[in-house]
């Protein structure tokens, strides 16, 4: 795993577990209740020169089955084209699976499954924060 410990990151998330852990770190945490906002905020920041640290698509859990998503970014000066390309591709995949995701929306999931999804999302980034 890459060592980003010395860097101050921007954490964009809709995952309460990530929020409760990251709030105690030196990183900036932006919490939204809506997944749409997480992704569009990440895209907007990339346009302002931020670079993606983590890939915005989830791991092998069906692309958008997990209603929780955390994206880590680092502030930079210049637009990073590769970050923008990855972000735009991910948004395209998000649109494709949006309907499935709504069927699986967090309000419909029971508490223990919600916690499992949060844990999977948190585990992907925990070593970086």
């Amino acid at each position: 795993m890459a060592q980003n410990k010395e860097k101050v990151l921007t954490i964009i998330t809709n995952n309460p577990l990530v929020k409760s852990e990251s709030i105690l770190t030196e990183h900036t945490t932006l919490f939204f209740s809506d997944l749409d906002k997480v992704l569009t905020k990440a895209r907007d920041l990339i346009h302002q020169g931020y670079t993606l640290i983590t890939h915005p698509l989830a791991g092998s859990v069906k692309p958008w089955a997990n209603p929780y998503r955390t994206v880590l970014l680092e502030e930079n000066e210049q637009l990073n084209m590769r970050s923008l390309e990855i972000m735009e591709n991910s948004l395209q995949k998000y649109d494709q699976f949006k309907n499935d995701l709504e069927e699986n929306s967090s309000e419909k999931l029971n508490e223990s499954i919600r916690e499992d999804y949060q844990l999977i999302d948190y585990d992907l980034i925990k070593e970086l924060i």
């Binding site: 640290i53 890939h55 791991g59 092998s60 859990v61 591709n89 069927e103 223990s112 844990l119």
Partner: protein, 427 residues
């Protein structure tokens, strides 16, 4: 390096007084095996069952599938876990063919992994054709997910090794010798044939997405060279529990069809010189490093072409494309093997990333295709997961026990090593 792989064709399996194979009948001492695997304070309950092709049985959620094997010479199977630390890949190995150990367990609430032994679902999984020794294990309530995964992983490997040892004293029904020569020798032997390598991508994204090499968590490695014969002896072990259709269960690693085909054509129309293992990590920096290092290794070896296989989908699509682009930039021709998430109608873009260099791609099928699985007389494992399996959706589990799911939920349905038989045809 030379490995003699002997296969014993198992025709049936029964529980009995001792562990042995006689005329294709595998007898397992159930009590002795249970005694061996249940000695872990984290386990609440454990049981074993035998299921056969054609049985009216559904197994779910499947965690891993493992082929029982044992070493006669040259170390132990699954080194770093249940065997010694000796390197494997040479000497003699015996495989009990036609049989597998299946571990089940709901590690997280939405876990998938269905094996139907009969009916329409059976056509979609290669494991419906095997006699399966299914381990159902529950852990204590306070056990965290990653510990639960580890418990099941160790139980599966221990059982597969123990059962495999029943074949130790038998004459195998078929024996194949695999020779993997040192690089310089291989280059000389191959003459003008194109030097082909295999880039073997391993899923390594953290909790429930891990793969181990000689017991080492592969997310911590730099890409490295492994002998394909080491893979056959269990040097690569799956700790990957999600995305049933395209996760590489340990069985697929042991019986990797790409490795098999490369060996079959070695010296005929290609020169199979190296296997490079690399990982699929979460951060973009890790992805860049691993793909750059993979391309550098391939260049150093002097490959003319490479086959690159992916594990999982979504975020690993980026690793696949980076590997492709960086290899092609060095003049190394690539063929990619993957699967698709093209929506239920198959009309959407299949991968989350692309590059013009990816002009030779083999698909193992569209994981979003929907299938209806009729009710089964018996479900082994944990049926409460049916409604929340990946690829499932609200109302997946009907009252009569039938399940409507995407084939993503079926173990091995779109295996990206090409183990299964789904294909695409244009009309």
């Amino acid at each position: 390096m030379q490995l003699e792989l002997g296969k014993i064709h198992i025709k049936d399996v029964e529980f009995g007084e001792e562990n042995k194979v006689e005329n294709g009948l595998l007898t397992i001492d159930k009590e002795a095996l249970l005694h061996k695997i249940k000695d872990d304070h984290r386990i609440e309950s454990i049981d074993l069952e035998i299921v056969r092709p054609g049985d009216n049985v559904r197994i779910m959620p499947v965690k891993d599938v493992i082929e029982p094997r044992c070493k006669i010479e040259g170390g132990d199977v699954f080194p770093g876990f249940v065997g010694s630390e000796d390197l494997v890949g040479s000497g003699k190995t015996i495989a009990l063919s036609g049989v597998s150990v299946v571990t089940t367990g709901g590690i997280v609430g939405f876990q998938e992994g269905i094996i139907d032994m009969s009916g329409p679902g059976a056509d979609y999984t290669p494991f419906s054709k095997l006699i399966n020794i299914v381990i159902t294990c529950e852990v204590k309530d306070n056990i965290k997910s990653h510990i639960h995964e580890e418990v099941l992983r160790l139980i599966g490997l221990t059982a597969a090794k123990y059962i495999g040892e029943a074949g130790k004293t038998c004459d195998p029904d078929e024996v194949k010798t695999y020779t993997h020569s040192p690089l310089l020798e291989a280059c000389e032997l191959g003459g003008d044939l194109p030097k082909v390598g295999y880039v073997y991508m391993l899923q390594t994204q953290g909790l429930l997405h891990d793969t181990y090499v000689y017991g080492v968590d592969a997310k911590e490695i730099l890409p490295t060279i492994i002998s394909p014969t080491e893979v056959m002896d269990g040097a690569i072990v799956s700790g990957n529990c999600v995305s049933a259709c395209d996760k590489n269960a340990t069985y697929f690693h042991q019986n990797n069809p790409i490795i098999d085909e490369l060996f079959a054509r070695d010296g005929i129309d290609l020169n199979f010189v190296a296997t490079i293992i690399t990982n699929e990590n979460v951060t973009l920096a890790d992805k860049e490093r691993s793909s750059s290092y993979t391309a550098r290794l391939a260049e150093k070896i002097g490959l003319d072409a490479a086959i690159v296989s992916q594990e999982g989908f979504g975020n690993p699509d980026a690793d696949l494309i980076m590997n492709c682009k960086k290899l092609e930039d060095k003049g190394i021709k690539t063929v990619l093997t993957t699967d698709e998430y093209a929506g239920r109608d198959g009309a959407s873009q299949s991968l989350a990333d692309s590059t013009p260099e990816a002009d030779a791609v083999v698909t193992a099928g569209n994981a979003n295709e929907v299938i209806e699985l009729p009710p089964m007389e018996r479900v082994i494992g944990h049926v409460r997961f049916a409604n929340k399996i990946a690829g499932g959706f609200d109302g997946s589990l009907a009252e009569d026990g039938s399940i409507t799911v995407e084939i993503q939920a079926i173990t091995g349905a779109t295996n990206e090593l090409g183990f299964n038989k789904l294909t695409a045809r244009g009309y």
